[in-house]
Symmetry: C2
Subunit: 354 residues, 2 copies
């Protein structure tokens, strides 16, 4: 499959149909694994990296159910293509920006990806729509087992899985849930919620993981500690706190509807109006406005528009996606015009149908 | 005619079809006159005011062509009705806020009004759409003559017409042109233009005359001096400078189209989008956005919408008009909601037809 074919589609995690999907965008788990026979990435020669890459290609090829898996040789991709995969959350910024042999396997539904030669030899990622950590855990555990049959992972009897960075040693697992929390932001309660989460040993990050800014009221909440707890315990730890945050967000939304329904309606309706009429628009403003519209739909303040449409626009209006969809490379100013055109077309089409 | 019947209509000066009407909203001339037999207003007793009022009722009744003229006894009108007449530019704030016997006559097409017991015993106002000072001058001169046949105005051989305020002595005339100058505002040339006008003895005021703020990029330019020049000279003085300002505005628009067409298109298109989708909106924001849309239509950046529609919205979205159209009195917050609804209905209807 060519990368272009992915552009117009949407990953499973964007379906917007999973449990609590008005607030929970996606449930994600990743595992860090390293091959016992090779040094960690930072000490790898280019020959080592190539050998690691080859070992995983063989291991993946040996799994019967994965015979139509999609493969991208990230090292041979141009900047735009790599950025495209980052925007789609199929590879990390780190894998995109590294050098030397590195690659990624993605299943056709984009529920999982296998990054080769990222910070570790292997990063497995599973992503599901809505709040569904159990399904994500079952899937990633099966993937781990399937690969484990064909390669030998670096594992220490007492420490568990060995990883390039000590913060990942043990389970090598990060459980994270992406939440849309606009009402907690509007009511200025978000900082308080984050401080509580940090005290519980959970991390809060922006849309694109570590070091990224929270944009459009999207937040990733994940475990900090990977050592000393079982995988099931980690899933449970994150899984137990998310419903509490969901409840806070719901309370904040109810409060807003009760206290300032008109102002809220005004805010989301104007956001929709600007998205439909702007002639040039940055990705940051787009994210911000789509976030308002998303909340508006979920609160019944905007009709004739569906969450999957908005989720798709979040992804498709990003810089690399826009250029891939258009089939040409564009400078920032031209991208802003193209983005406005794309939004107009897709939002007006929707409303005209009704 | 009842005041309510005026509400849904539009005055002649809002037709938007006069010469240069993309930039010139209206051409207005007013004359200040006083009856020789009575003291100036500030020294009038209430009995004097009533006698002045009666004298003008008789004088107006004596003019054959004015038999279907509309009359409002301003003193007996409530606050809302008086505000309505101010918004419509048929009476001044001063007449609205004064006390005692005072009234106004308005012709059915709202091309002229006769205010009785304003700062002077009589203020005659003629207002035409676009740049048409000659027609305005001919009409007001005929009105002055018609009234002069039936009353005796205070006139001094050397000074000319005597008025309550010395700044109006002589011709008692103010010639003013209302201009829409958004491009001079955007390109930050407006202050420079105003300084030049002041040096030429011309005054610049906002939408509602003396002391009012310039809102929505609308400016009234008028003569300061009424003494020592003939009426025709005053019309000529203002009439000669307006085409220069029009030319500046056109140059600024051309510059904007050339240098930043996309940003300009974005600005006017978003303004339209917000007007169509806001759920609550102040009159000040409405004025500001309608101003952008008006410029957009005139520059061909917005289609399927006509200037008279926008001109009408300028008037109808004002506080008193909104309440008159709705038939109830409304607090500010409710007016803002009602205004948003009115804008949605009238702007969406227009675009749906196309």
């Amino acid at each position: 499959m060519k990368l272009e074919e992915l552009a117009d589609r949407c990953g499973e995690w964007l379906r917007g149909s999973g449990p609590q999907s008005d607030i929970v965008i996606s449930s994600r788990i990743r595992l860090a694994r390293n091959l016992a026979a090779f040094p960690f990435i930072r000490r790898c020669s280019e020959a080592d990296r190539q050998a690691v890459d080859r070992a995983f290609r063989d291991a993946v090829a040996a799994v019967e159910e994965w015979k139509d898996i999609i493969f991208f040789d990230v090292n041979s991709l141009g900047t735009l293509d790599r950025q495209f995969l980052v925007e789609r959350q199929l590879i990390s910024r780190e894998l995109s920006e590294a050098s030397g042999a590195r690659s990624v396997f993605v299943d056709r539904h984009e529920t999982f990806s296998l990054m080769i030669n990222e910070e570790d030899h292997l990063r497995v990622q599973v992503m599901h729509s809505g709040l569904d950590l159990t399904a994500a855990w079952e899937q990633i555990s099966a993937i781990d087992d399937a690969l484990g049959k064909n390669v030998s992972f670096a594992f220490h009897q007492r420490l568990g899985y060995l990883t390039a960075c000590p913060t990942n040693v043990g389970t090598g697992m990060r459980v994270s849930v992406m939440l849309h929390l606009p009402a907690l932001v509007i009511t200025q309660q978000i900082e308080k919620v984050f401080r509580s989460l940090q005290k519980m040993g959970l991390a809060v990050r922006g849309l694109y993981g570590e070091g990224s800014q929270a944009m459009g009221d999207f937040y990733q909440i994940s475990n900090q500690i990977t050592l000393g707890s079982s995988e099931v315990d980690l899933v449970k730890q994150v899984g137990e706190v998310i419903p509490v945050i969901i409840d806070y967000e719901r309370q904040a939304r109810a409060f807003l509807v009760k206290e300032s329904r008109k102002d809220l309606h005004d805010r989301v309706s104007r956001a929709f109006g600007i998205l439909c009429t702007a002639q040039t628009i940055s990705s940051e403003e787009t994210l911000h406005l789509l976030s308002s519209v998303r909340m508006g739909i979920n609160m019944g303040l905007i009709q004739d528009l569906e969450i999957p449409t908005i989720n798709k626009l979040f992804i498709h209006t990003q810089p690399a996606h826009l250029q891939k969809l258009r089939g040409i490379t564009l400078e920032t100013a031209d991208r802003n015009v193209e983005r406005a055109l794309y939004l107009q077309t897709h939002l007006r089409k929707r409303t005209d149908q009704n």
